[in-house]
Amino acid sequence: MAREGIDLSTVDAVRALEAGKYTAGFTTDIEQEFAPKGLSEDTVRFISAKKDEPQWMLDWRLEAFRRWQTMEEPSWAMVRYPPIDYQDATYYAAPKNAAKYKSLDEVDPEILETYKKLGIPLREQETLLGVAGAPRIAVDAVFDSVSVLTTFKKELAQAGVIFCSISEAVREHPDLVKKYLGSVVPTTDNFFATLNSAVFSDGSFVYVPQGVRCPMELSTYFRMNAQGSGQFERTLIIVDKGGHVSYLEGCTAPMREENQLHAAVVELVALEDAEIKYSTVQNWWPGDVDGKGGVYNFVTKRGDCRGARSRISWTQVETGSAITWKYPSCILRGDDSSGEFYSIAITNGRQQADTGSKMIHLGRNTKSRIISKGISAGRAQNTYRGLVSIHGKAANARNFTQCDSLLIGDKCGAHTIPYVEARNVSAKLEHEATTTKLSEDQLFYMRQRGIPEEEAVALLVNGFVREVLQQLPMEFAVEAQKLVAVSLEGSVG
């Protein structure tokens, strides 16, 4: 009956929400500080100086920037957009006086209000006092280019867990950062990752020491507020031998008429027997129904199962952004390591998504699993693109891939592009794919039973994505489910 509970709570969620509203689309009116528009070595130096970075960090950025200038923007993805003028954007925007707040009391009330409106818990007291139902979630709140607050730092420190902004980590934990930054996604990796390496602003840093199970969920909420600015977050998570962490990121942005650029890099490192569960609920502004505005989301996410028996699991719910270009991947380096990718990608209106995963099997007895659910409505295009690569030494590697597409209406598209490379004969690979069209006939059938159209769509869609929603931490599953329903409002008829 638990499953049905989830189904019906979606239906209630749909009822409770106003149709077709992007509820995160408001702007926060505060004084902000910007880098001068445009992109040059000076921009890189400006950002580095703003963050009080040591010389080695600046040098790392500059090297990336020089490299980037020689690179070409990739064009192989099934997404169409006008050329991006990289000089016509602002690469740093921060609330004024944003020396990191030490406690909640110091944070600009407008910013607090923003997170409150988005339903993001920043208060620690209730949880610390043991109030029933208070969420045990530590939050790093990133507002445009800076992290404004990280909660529960003290409690986490007692467990030996470091959870702070990447800017802080560069200053406070340089040895860890030097050792791991760029070790999974090198600065030379791809056009957008290299750009990020040059101008990355803020993001989260997590270190879980040997044998420690992180005592609470960690999460980062990214909020893009400033007009005409891009957000270039950088996240680095390292879990030492036998450690465990579950991490979630959430993303929202105001409704803007012009497109905003978001090029992030996330690197995960799991040492021997370590486990990382990384979940994303991405709800950047998708643009209006005619395709005006919206976030361009070019993201490089990769996890390295560096140690034997390590595990990395990616779960993503992608509902926002005008353009999504994103392939959370696992390098299965350690023997007996495993990687998982669970994805729900929803495109409506004029949204375009080209997303999937890469599973690179290097070690022996490595296992991977890809479950992708793509939903396309309106005039949207949704592409699954995936690579399963079995290297020569990866004896007994196994992969299971399932790609399901759901089409709502007849003006949208779904595409599945799986690549497979196997250089070891002992590999076992399975691939399943289905395409379902949600038809007027099905909707009429459900309405004849008394189920209103929006509820009918929610039920069908929920059934379609259930397998992936179940992978999310409970607190976020409900939120994600609402989001799934809301992003498809008005998609029928």
């Binding site: 009956m1 499953r3 049905e4 189904d7 019906l8 239906v11 379902t436 038809s439 007027e440 006939d441 099905q442 009429f444 059938y445 459900m446 309405r447 004849q448 039973r449 008394g450 189920i451 209103p452 159209e453 509820e455 039920l459 069908l460 929920n462 059934g463 379609f464 259930r466």
Partner: protein, 248 residues
Amino acid sequence: MLSVSDLHVSVGAAEILKGLTLSVPAGEVHAIMGPNGAGKSTLSYALTGREGYEATQGAVTLEGRDLLAMTPEERAAAGLFLSFQYPLEIPGVPTMTFLKAALNAQAKARGEPELGATEILKRVRARAGELRISAEMLKRPLNVGFSGGEKKRMEILQMMVLEPRFAILDETDSGLDIDALRIVADGVNALRAPDRAMLVITHYQRLLDYIRPDKVHVLVSGRIVDTGGPELALRLEKEGYDKYLAAA
């Protein structure tokens, strides 16, 4: 209970129903028989409000309420049920979940309290037992991969659980073997009640051996051209529709 007067219905440019008049009082079961293309399915879709089946003239009321002014889901909440000739597959939605959503949506629309999960489960299980539908089938997505006969039994299960005031059974006998036909007919007969009425649309007389109608109407070229008792069905089986077709 159901009153249809001078109903004209067009699908695209073609007029399919051309002034159909029909009245089914509470407590009665009426059958509609007719040749292919007479407008039988059009009638069931027009009554339930399917898009593309446009009533251009005439009136339809259910217990005095104007059906034509309602959306399909409002008609369902008003007590109208259609057992589809070709039931749809609903992927990802288990039968039990589907029934719960339908029951509660209707209750909500009528301003009645929603039923608890346990109560619904009990009601569905009891009815499923009568139709020899296994508990395992109730957990599977509705109609997905079911045989034609299983789908028809699922239609009757839905009808028994939703307890409509007025049910239309569109070619419910097609695809059923004789045993399944008997099970389905028993289910339908169990629902006969003084405050409920039914319209059985069928090609063949066979079903009417099991579900005995109070009246039989002959639908030809979009109009009711003859009405009689159960014996009319037997005569049609023997003589066919030629006589009516020639007159039309």
